[in-house]
Amino acid sequence: MSSTVIDRDLVRRVAEAAHIKLTDEELDKYAHQMKAIVEAFTELDQVDTEGVEPSFHPIELENVLREDEPRDWAWNPLGNTVHKENKYFKGPRIT
C-alpha cells in the first residue's frame, strides 16, 4: 500500500463518490493533507497480520436476533422534513 498515490484526481473522484463538492483551492489543500495522512497510515505495513482475524468489534457477540413480532410505531415520519406532499416525502428527480 506504500505505492498509493494521493493526488488531486483521486481526491476529486473520491469526493464525487461521497457527494461532496470541492473548490480548486480545497482540492489542493485536501490532496496535500490527505497525502500526509495516508502516508502515515502506511506504517501499518510493518505489522505482520498473516493469519490474524479482523476485529469488527472489540467484544464479539453472536446471534443477537429479534423475534418476528410486528409493532406499530406511533409517530409522524414527516415531522422533520419540509419536503413532503400528500403524505409522501418529496425527493429530487433522478436524471
Binding site: H57, L65, R71, W73, N86, Y88, F89, K90, P92, I94
Partner: protein, 471 residues
C-alpha cells in the same frame, strides 16, 4: 447466435415484521409512509436489529436450492446514493453470503446457483410528472423500505428466454412450497437479468417485476443484441432500464464511481453463527419440495407424471387441495382428471387461484360423488363446475335447487319417444344402416333434458326403441 442469461432474483420473504425493525410487512390499506419507524427511515440515533424468522427462511431456501451454508454470516453496508435509500446504504451481505454453490434441475439441465443472501428492500419511488428520465420530482413511500428480501444469483447457465421463464416458474413453486413467500403479493419477485450474445459484453437489465415482464424484457434484449451483432455493432457493457409499458429496455447513464460500493461490515449488527442445531431443526421440519412431491404423487396415487406435474407446479395450495380430495374420495385418478381438465380451466377463466376461490375439497368431491350415485350426468357436472367455482355452494344443494338431477326412467322414456316422433328422417337413416344417426338423436334428447340424462342410458333407450319400431 446463442444467448447467455444469468438472473438475480429478489424475493420478498414472508415475515410479519421487517428485516431490521418491527414495522409490518403487510402494506394492505396503508397510507404512504404510515408503515415506518425511525429505524427503517434511518433516523439519526436509530439502530437495526435482525429478524430471526428472515434468517430461518433464508436457511430453508438455501437448503432447498442445494446450497452449502456458511458457518457464520455477517451483514454489510452497500454504499450508494439514491432517493429510495433511507440511509444511502443498503444493509445486505457481501463478504459472506448466507449460502453458495447450489443448483436447480430443469428436466436434466442443471442451473447453478452462485449465491443466496439476505438484504433490505429500498423504498418505492413514484415519478411525478413523467417517467424515470423526465419526472420533475419524486414521491417517496418508505412503507416497503426494510422488508426482507432474499437475493438468488444464478450462474449464466440459462440459454434462452423460455428456459429463464421455466426456471423462474420452478423457483416460484419451490418458494411457495417452503412457505417463505406470498406469490399473490404485487412485486413479490423482482428480477435483474444479465444478458449476452455469443460471448459478447454483458448487459444488465434492472428491476423487472413479474414473470411475463421478464420474458418480455429478455426477448427484447436478446433481439436487440442479436440485431446489433448482425449489423456488426459491438454491444457495450451497460445497465439498462426496462419499461413495462412499452416492453423495451433503455440505457441508464452511469458514473464510473457508481460500481464501487465501498462495502464495510455493518457495525451495528453482530455475527450470526448458523449452529448445526439451528440448521438441523429447520431442515428436519422442512416442507416437502415440489420435485419430491411429484414423484410421491405418481407413486402414491398412481397418476401420470404429466398430471402430477401440473398439480404440483401450479402451487402448493393446489397440491394440498388434491391430497385432501384424495382423502375424501376413493379414486385419485378421477380426482386428478377433474382438477386438471375442468377445475383449473374454470379457475383460470375466473382468474382465481385455488386459495382465493371458495372451492373446498369437501364440496368438490361431492360433485364427483353425485356422478357416482347416478344423481347427475357427467355432462351436468361439467356445466355445474363453472357455477360451483364462483359460488363454492354445495353441488348437492345446487342440483336440488336447479333441478339438475337425472330424470326418472318414465320421464326419460317420454322424451325419447317425442324425439323419435319428431325426427322421422334420422330414424329412417338409422334403420337403413346409418348407425351414426343415433348420435344425432341422443344429442336431441340431451338438449331437451338439459343433460339430465346419462348418455349411455339414452343410447340404450333410443336403439331399443328404434329396433322395436316398425319400419
Amino acid at each position: 447466435m446463442k444467448a447467455t442469461i444469468g438472473l438475480e432474483i429478489h424475493v420478498h420473504l414472508l415475515t410479519d415484521s421487517k428485516l431490521f425493525c418491527s414495522c409490518r410487512t403487510s402494506l394492505m390499506g396503508k397510507e404512504p409512509n404510515e408503515n415506518t419507524c425511525p429505524i427503517c427511515l434511518g433516523f439519526p440515533g436509530s439502530k437495526p436489529k435482525a429478524n430471526k424468522r428472515a434468517i430461518d427462511h433464508g436457511i430453508v431456501l438455501a437448503k432447498a436450492l442445494s446450497c452449502s451454508l456458511v458457518p457464520e454470516i455477517r451483514f454489510s453496508r452497500k454504499n450508494y446514493f439514491y432517493p429510495d435509500m433511507p440511509k444511502n446504504f443498503q444493509i445486505t451481505q457481501y463478504e459472506v453470503p448466507l449460502a453458495m454453490n447450489g443448483y436447480v434441475m430443469l428436466g436434466n439441465r442443471k442451473i447453478r446457483i452462485r449465491r443466496v443472501h439476505l438484504e433490505e428492500d429500498p423504498a418505492k419511488l413514484i415519478h411525478v410528472g413523467g417517467d424515470i428520465t423526465t419526472a420533475r420530482y419524486n414521491h417517496i413511500d418508505y412503507n416497503r423500505a426494510g422488508i426482507p428480501l432474499v437475493e438468488i444469483v444464478t450462474e449464466p447457465d440459462l440459454e434462452d428466454t423460455k428456459e429463464a421463464r421455466l426456471f423462474l416458474e420452478k423457483l416460484s413453486v419451490i418458494l411457495d412450497h417452503l412457505g417463505v413467500y406470498d406469490p399473490t403479493t404485487e412485486g413479490a419477485i423482482r428480477v435483474d437479468a444479465n444478458v449476452s450474445i455469443d460471448g459478447g459484453q454483458r448487459v444488465e437489465v434492472k428491476n423487472i417485476t413479474g414473470f411475463r415482464n421478464v420474458e418480455k424484457a429478455l426477448n427484447y434484449e436478446v433481439v436487440r443484441q442479436k440485431s446489433m451483432a448482425n449489423m456488426g455493432i459491438d454491444v457495450s457493457r451497460e445497465t439498462r432500464h426496462f419499461d413495462a409499458e412499452s416492453g423495451t429496455t433503455s440505457s441508464l447513464r452511469k458514473k464510473e464511481t457508481e460500481d464501487d460500493y465501498g462495502y464495510i461490515i455493518e457495525p451495528d449488527l453482530v455475527k450470526i453463527k448458523l449452529h448445526s442445531e439451528w440448521v438441523d431443526k429447520l431442515t428436519e421440519s422442512m416442507p416437502e419440495l415440489p420435485d419430491h412431491r411429484i414423484e410421491r404423487f405418481i407413486e402414491q396415487y398412481s397418476i401420470g407424471r404429466f398430471q402430477a406435474g401440473i398439480i404440483v407446479n401450479t402451487g402448493l395450495q393446489l397440491s394440498l387441495f388434491y391430497e385432501e380430495c384424495c382423502n375424501l374420495y376413493k379414486d385419485p385418478k378421477i380426482v386428478v382428471n377433474w382438477i386438471v381438465t375442468y377445475l383449473l380451466k374454470s379457475l383460470n377463466y375466473e382468474r382465481l387461484n385455488i386459495k382465493e376461490s371458495k372451492v373446498k375439497p369437501e364440496t368438490f368431491v361431492e360433485l364427483l360423488k353425485l356422478i357416482d350415485e347416478g344423481v347427475i350426468s357427467e355432462r351436468t357436472a361439467k356445466e355445474l363446475i363453472k357455477e360451483y367455482t364462483v359460488s363454492g355452494e354445495s353441488p348437492r344443494k345446487i342440483v336440488k335447487e336447479k333441478n339438475l338431477s337425472l330424470m326418472s326412467e318414465d320421464e326419460l322414456h317420454k322424451v325419447v319417444s317425442e324425439v323419435i316422433e319428431e325426427n322421422p328422417k334420422a330414424v329412417n337413416d338409422y334403420q337403413s344402416g346409418h348407425v351414426k344417426a343415433a348420435e344425432y338423436l341422443i344429442g336431441q334428447v340431451l338438449r331437451k333434458t338439459r343433460a339430465r340424462a346419462a348418455v349411455d342410458t339414452v343410447r340404450k333407450l333410443i336403439t331399443d326403441m328404434m329396433e322395436s319400431k316398425p319400419r
